[in-house]
Symmetry: C2
Subunit: 286 residues, 2 copies
Amino acid sequence: MKYETESSLTAAVTAQFAKTPDPRLREILLALTSHLHAFARETALTIEEWSQGIEFITRTGHMCQGGRQEFILLSDVLGLSMLVDAIEHRTQSSATDSTVLGPFFVDDAPTRLNGADIGAGLAGDLLLVTAAVTGTDGQPLADADVVVWQCDEHGRYDIQYPGRDGYFLRGRFRTDARGLVQFWSIVPPAYPIPDDGPVGDLLTASGRHPWRPAHVHFHIAAAGHRSLVTHLFVAGEDYLDSDVVFGVKPSLIVDLVPHGPGTAPDGRVCPNGWKSLDHPFQLAAL
Amino acid sequence: MKYETESSLTAAVTAQFAKTPDPRLREILLALTSHLHAFARETALTIEEWSQGIEFITRTGHMCQGGRQEFILLSDVLGLSMLVDAIEHRTQSSATDSTVLGPFFVDDAPTRLNGADIGAGLAGDLLLVTAAVTGTDGQPLADADVVVWQCDEHGRYDIQYPGRDGYFLRGRFRTDARGLVQFWSIVPPAYPIPDDGPVGDLLTASGRHPWRPAHVHFHIAAAGHRSLVTHLFVAGEDYLDSDVVFGVKPSLIVDLVPHGPGTAPDGRVCPNGWKSLDHPFQLAAL
């Protein structure tokens, strides 16, 4: 008859999971059990604290509705997302650095043509983005899939507005024969991650701020190459050294070039001037 | 400028949490971060597997509705609930052994008087339960609060029926001057934990069955004493040696005494006989 004592319990649970047919799932479940139990033992977790944990994680689950993915936020602020990204990119490469996907990516961003303005009608300083997509050998990659997304001047993404009509500041482009994508947008501000839920409560309780430095997201996929998920961060702005999700890498911090009133290279008349951002992206071959 | 590499990332996250004002929360967050990161590193968790994990935990959160608490189920099948219970009861004591609370406890069980039938009108073999509540010194504890709950003949608890009218097979009693609680119920069967959600999928994928051996739950609180959360398991029944939540302890396995057709001690006429369960509960003084 089984009586699992504190010392025998972990072995009893791992003995059950040791029967898992899939070897990779078995490996993950055994490691999960052993670290979860070690965490509880080391902290001498009380039943009251366990209850608070159950309540926290349940609230986190209930917060995942519509455009809100609170578990990705939780993974982000715990550094898990960046760690998994780092593990996936352990191999040395001259490819562009990756960073977190974040909770605001969507699968069905609207298709846009080169030259489109994804911020049309929105307030903000005009920004002309030119992305040059190549392999690590420098050869241009034509017909690559480039999804971009960013926040508006209030620091919010389209999917954070419950009553919105369609997407904005988001688009799916294809590189031309020279491997180029070009589009108009606005200069993004820094923003706090959504902090009115359990993750915000966690940050408050731990004395951490909820801010991310200003950035534009890129998800780039080209035939025969490893997909790239990354951001470009705006140089000189706040929170570059304290990103709440630990996502900043120096190679991803870029200068915006200011331009006075006049006509942009594509013929757009900009009475208040504009800024431009030109950046190369190198994708590793598969 | 920060560029967190795989090796520096954990230190960067713990440096952020090290500012947590509350020392106990700080200790828990630092241990959580370090074990979560070690788990990801050891398994070399991929982004695809991380995504599956996010999806799993999000589905688990969405499953927590009404009478369903999927995160407690998850904690139970991972052995975490029993481990936390064991940690909380590290001190040696002659008190009755504890076991998991489980996901079917409710705060507002209906008040019942001694002698009540919490299974009135339900199918099943009649069971007369007599609980004697004392301190570890053997002195009866009068006016103790005794909450009991169990499943019906289909292996389901009242709160698992969406359209139910009120509670059944559940009640809040008070011990009399002799420290006794007595009530009628039915003999509970073994039952599978709810396995139509993510936790059921996990059990299936790991080749584990979802069954718990037959039992009655008790939550006993008396002034000046440590509260007791426990079960009594029915001797000789299935799954005593493979409880899916690892909750069985030998001291909690009890024999039911069968009685032929006739009149029970409290005067109830039982044409088909009845079974009786008498058990002492010792509570540790605070």
